[in-house]
């Protein structure tokens, strides 16, 4: 009975499903097929140009028992999660501030400027932050102004205690404008008459933000949250550029380890096993966030 109903429904939406065919076909060929090939490799001792033999779950055992991977997982979660949260709120603030700027030119330039870090690659801005944080860099310069002659410059990038914070801050700095742009796309579609009405009712600007702007962008905030949570374990470029040996214990993450194993040492079996586990962990995290945020409910 239930099945019959479902079938009827499917039939009713036939024309809609057709719209999806190109998308599904594309993903099957360009995402799922390579994915399956990749996962198969994770069960092999892969020899480039040689006989790859199936070794069962050996690669997974190596990954699970390697203390390096444990540490890297913790680092990935802390730095990735921290960056996401920081970036999220920073982006939100930028979007709200943007919405308050009435002068068109000021508004447009502010949005462009906040977006610039996103346009540049880590190899550019990573090197820049290393310079700013160096013993002769800008931060030490400022500190010296306040502390005077007794001041000894610190090599911030060589201090384990600052390492994660630096990664989180610079990561958020690079992506905040990007999040802000995503939020802005929702904010601008708010019917301006709503603000008008609120003003007539005597609502302060802060109240307008609280009761009009925020509720409208909540769905976008959810989407941005879910989509970005998928990326927290996948931060490679930043760590690759900004890590050094002194702070590696605190910031070396899973993708960096995978890169070392897979690319530098041609240890493809182990690298794909670790990458598969990253996929599984991402899936779990995303699933939790999706449930927490009631992501799949529409028209609430």
């Amino acid at each position: 009975m239930k099945n019959k109903n479902l079938w009827k429904k499917v039939k009713r939406f036939r024309s809609i499903y057709i719209l999806l065919i190109p998308v599904i076909a594309y993903f099957v060929v360009f995402s799922y097929y390579p994915l399956i090939l990749g996962i198969v490799k994770s069960f092999q001792k892969v020899k480039l140009l040689g006989n790859s033999e199936f070794v069962g779950i050996d690669n997974y055992v190596t990954v699970f028992t390697g203390s390096q991977y444990h540490q890297a997982f913790v680092n990935s979660l802390i730095v990735g999660g921290g960056t996401f949260i920081f970036q999220f709120f920073w982006g939100l603030i930028i979007a709200l501030v943007l919405n308050e700027i009435r002068n068109k030119i000021a508004r447009s330039s502010f949005q462009t400027v906040t977006f610039i870090p996103y346009l540049l690659s880590w190899s550019v801005v990573g090197g820049l932050w290393i310079t700013i944080l160096s013993p002769t860099g800008m931060i030490n310069g400022f500190l010296q102004l306040f502390q005077g002659s007794s001041f000894t410059p610190a090599a911030f990038m060589a201090e384990e205690k600052y390492a994660r914070f630096i990664m989180i801050f610079t990561g958020a700095w690079k992506g905040a404008g990007y999040f802000a742009a995503l939020f802005m796309a929702s904010i601008v579609s708010i019917d301006t008459s709503l603000y008008e009405a609120a003003r007539i009712d005597g609502a302060t600007r802060i109240q307008q933000i609280r009761y009009i702007t925020i509720p409208v962008i909540v769905p976008t905030m959810k989407v941005v949250a879910v989509l970005s949570v998928m990326g927290i374990l996948r931060n490679f470029d930043q760590i690759f550029v900004m890590m050094n040996a002194t702070i590696s214990d605190k910031v070396k993450n899973l993708l960096y380890l995978i890169y070392e194993q897979g690319i530098l040492k041609f240890n493809v079996g182990e690298a794909t096993a670790a990458a598969t586990l990253v996929l599984v962990a991402t899936l779990l995290i995303t699933q939790v966030v999706r449930k927490l945020l009631h992501y799949d409910q529409i028209y609430e």
Binding site: K9, F13, S15, Y17, L19, L20, P22, V23, I24, Y26, F27, F30, S31, P34, L35, L37, G38, S42, V97, E100, S108, Q111, T112, T114, F115, I116, P117, L119, L120, L128, T131, M138, A181, L182, M184, A185, S186, V188, S189, I190, S193, R199, T204, R205, I206, T220, V226, L227, M230, L255, I258, Y259, I263, T272, A275, L279, T286, D296, I298, Y299
Partner: protein, 288 residues
């Protein structure tokens, strides 16, 4: 009139806080680009010096001269423009369609389909590094424009963002259109597309940036220089002379000049896209 009301409403501590936040953010966000500009227009010798450079010691266009001398940029620029524009237009179109499908309230398997799409966004690149190459080889996509366009043609990100922006369209509007006798396609084109224009523009731009800046895929797919995209060409220029025992590398000002050259088109497009992003569209206008 509006302005006076605003300043009445947003005053005191909050106003100060907003201004301070805006200024601090703007300054630290602008720093890198400024640094890139200064180094890119410094003399070769100055650009090689250490430390953060925020002002010119000696203004010079040597870096740009170097870039234009050692690389031919016209072809890669056109390649980038072609591949990125075609790819992004197709992508946004398909993403809009898929996003529209995913907001159909009663669509069977809706959540399953969105899970299917979202999973593709979670795959770490390292997992498919070899197999993606294998696939492209099997499909004869190496060294071809088709390969450059086809890889990454559809992204879960755009679909999910489009779905989100469509969701904000009030259902009443759709209902009204349905009563007026509009078909599925009609509703999509007449109601959803115009209201979601800011979203559409945002997604278009984000994907444009991602495609434009993408280096890894072209580097893998293309060894024929006539197919190089702009970032790949410039990266190749920076890297080509970097050998292990320290032969000459491209000077810093040339590297920064290369970054300026790749970024300018994006900034132009962003300024263009802002027309849609910042003005917004009032619902009222659509209703009438």
């Amino acid at each position: 009139m509006k302005r006076s009301k605003l300043s009445n409403n947003l005053r005191g501590g909050w106003a100060v806080l907003f201004v301070v936040l805006a200024v601090i953010t703007a300054v630290i966000m602008f720093l890198p680009m400024w640094n890139v500009i200064v180094v890119g227009t410094s003399s070769t010798l100055d650009s090689g010096s250490s430390g953060l450079k925020l002002w010119w010691h000696e203004f010079s266009l040597e870096g740009f001269e170097y870039v234009f001398e050692v690389t031919k940029l016209a072809r890669p620029f056109l390649n980038s423009l072609f591949v990125t524009t075609v790819g992004t237009v197709i992508q946004v179109f398909l993403a809009a369609l898929a996003g529209y499908v995913l907001i159909q309230k009663e669509l069977p398997f809706r959540n399953a389909i969105s899970s299917f799409i979202m999973l593709t966004m979670m795959i770490p690149g390292d997992l498919t590094l070899i197999s993606v190459y294998q696939l492209n080889k099997q499909l004869n996509l190496l060294n071809s424009y088709t390969g450059l366009i086809l890889n990454g043609l559809i992204s879960g990100f755009s679909i999910m963002m489009m779905r989100n922006y469509f969701q904000t369209v009030p259902y009443t509007l759709e209902e009204a259109a349905r009563i007026d006798g509009s078909g599925e396609m009609g509703i999509f084109v007449k109601i959803y597309m115009p209201i979601s224009l800011p979203g559409l523009a945002t997604v278009f731009f984000m994907e444009y940036v991602a495609r434009w800046n993408s280096i890894m895929l072209p580097a893998t797919l293309v060894t024929d220089e006539s197919l190089y995209t702009l970032p790949v060409m410039l990266k190749a220029m920076i890297m080509s002379t970097e050998s292990t025992s320290g032969a000459q590398v491209a000077p810093n000002n040339a590297i920064m000049a290369a970054i300026i050259i790749t970024t300018i088109p994006l900034l132009l497009i962003y300024i263009f896209a802002q027309k849609f992003l910042l003005n917004g569209i009032s619902m009222g206008a659509v209703k009438e």
